[in-house]
């Protein structure tokens, strides 16, 4: 257990040390979202309709961007080999890394989503549901993304392949989340969608670390 906490603290310390690198996904998010009004015109009615989808797709792209580096640094400097031979359960260590990734990428996305909602003229009553859906959805990005990152860690251009591997698996989250927000805008109850997202997040929270640990063992062999 102390290994879990020490690894989590170390990763957060590393993230703080290389702040610029950690903020890149956030800047990417802001830029991508601001492209849509420029591309589709500033019409408030149109923007309001597509707001949820745009924010969610941008969030998905932003967290995938940072996933490639999740294991690459540890793979290159030999830390992964230390994890494997340390005798600690690899899935627990992987969970620490996934939580560190979520804290550095997922959480900022959730915190900045109100700003994005204002940019895209999202109706006021849909904002709390958007934030809740992001809180439930971004962990799944990190969990499933970690499996993709573990499978492609040793490959030359693993980044593009990583996106192809995990996007199909993230479709349910995207559908449920945008469904929740659109339900909120028409102010019919969105709690069903959020509960389904919570269920999916818990399922991935239990299964993903094992799959990710197995992927790392394969990538290192």
């Amino acid at each position: 257990m102390s290994a879990f906490i020490s690894l989590l603290k170390r990763d957060l310390l590393l993230a703080v040390r290389s702040r610029a690198e950690v903020l890149q996904p956030l800047f990417f998010l802001l830029v991508v979202v601001s492209l849509f009004p420029l591309g589709l015109g500033p019409g408030p009615a149109l923007l309001a309709r597509i707001a949820a989808g745009v924010i969610w797709i941008a969030a998905l792209l932003a967290s995938t961007l940072s996933l490639d580096g999740l294991f690459r640094a540890d793979f290159d400097d030999g830390s992964l080999e230390q994890f494997l031979t340390s005798g600690h359960s690899l899935s627990l260590l992987v969970l620490a890394k996934i939580i560190a990734h979520w804290l550095t990428t997922g959480l900022p996305i959730v915190l900045f989503s109100p700003l994005l909602a204002v940019w895209l003229n999202l109706p006021r009553e849909a904002l709390p549901v958007l934030v809740k859906s992001l809180l439930l959805g971004t962990p799944v990005f990190s969990l499933i993304g970690a499996i993709g990152a573990a499978l492609t860690v040793g490959l030359r251009q693993g980044g593009q392949l990583l996106a192809l591997l995990i996007f199909p698996l993230l479709i349910p989250v995207l559908i449920l989340a945008t469904g929740a927000v659109s339900a909120a805008t028409d102010n019919i109850g969105s709690s069903a969608y959020l509960l389904w997202m919570a269920a999916y997040a818990v399922l991935m929270l239990t299964l993903a670390p094992f799959a990710c640990a197995a992927s790392l063992r394969i990538s290192l062999s």
Partner: protein
């Protein structure tokens, strides 16, 4: 070793598998050919024209079997992959890797025939219908598995990685299927389901089942052919290959 383990071990030995599959493949092709000819004959000459869609509904006799096959092959690929990962049986890994292209081909066929069929029925080639969309996602899953397999050099490692991805995919498959269905009813309300909904008279249904069985034999034959090639390529330096060449049984 109990009999079951002995059987697995025996079929696991490459030479025995190579010989056995060599014997089976011609039969599988033969049965596939017979069933297809019979199925096609019934599909085009026996089945009545549909009162709504006229003749274009006959595309279901290739569209629906292909869609079923693409789903079944993905599940089988995940099972073969799991066996390969857990018990490290090389033949299972080879089966998983060889199934991917066949499954992707069926998914592609289902997509193409589905969209061609959409033109006369709905007026456009692509409709974001629930089943066509989840078929598209399944095709992307296949591309992911094949992409990962070709990206890794060492064959055994590539097979194990692809097998694991297939397992992760198969766990998510039902979830994707339901969420796409849900998404479809959310945005479009209930559209006409592709053919399946209305009660089909027997004369229409039989060719569908015949073709469904025929495509399974096709899968069996194509899979064994690919598996034999891959096994032979891997074991080219092994003793049993040299022996087979000497006895001219290759």
């Amino acid at each position: 070793m109990n009999p079951v383990m002995k059987f697995i071990h025996k079929t696991g030995s490459p030479a025995y598998f190579y010989w056995l599959s060599g014997r089976m493949i011609p039969w599988l092709w033969a049965i596939f050919a017979v069933l297809t000819i019979w199925g096609m004959y019934q599909a085009f000459f026996v089945a009545p024209t549909d009162y709504q869609q006229g003749e274009s509904y006959r595309i279901i006799y290739i569209h629906v079997p292909a869609a079923w096959m693409s789903m079944m092959i993905y599940i089988l690929m995940a099972i073969f992959g799991a066996i390969g990962l857990i018990w490290r049986i090389r033949i299972a890994e080879i089966f998983a890797v060889s199934s991917a292209p066949i499954g992707a081909a069926f998914a592609l066929i289902a997509l193409i025939t589905g969209s061609i069929w959409g033109k006369p029925t709905w007026g456009t080639y692509w409709v974001w219908d629930a089943r066509l969309t989840s078929q598209l996602v399944l095709f992307f899953l296949y591309l992911g598995v094949m992409g990962l397999h070709s990206a890794i050099d060492e064959p055994r490692k590539a097979a194990r990685a692809a097998a694991l991805l297939a397992l992760v995919g198969v766990v998510n498959l039902p979830i994707i299927h339901f969420s796409v269905d849900w998404w479809n009813t959310l945005h479009q309300g209930t559209t006409v389901k592709i053919g399946g909904g209305s009660k089909m008279p027997n004369s229409m249904l039989i060719p569908l089942l015949v073709m469904a069985i025929a495509t399974k034999f096709y899968y069996g034959a194509a899979l064994l052919t690919r598996a034999r090639n891959r096994l032979l390529d891997q074991d080219r330096r092994r003793g049993w290959v040299a022996k087979k060449i000497k006895e001219d049984q290759l």
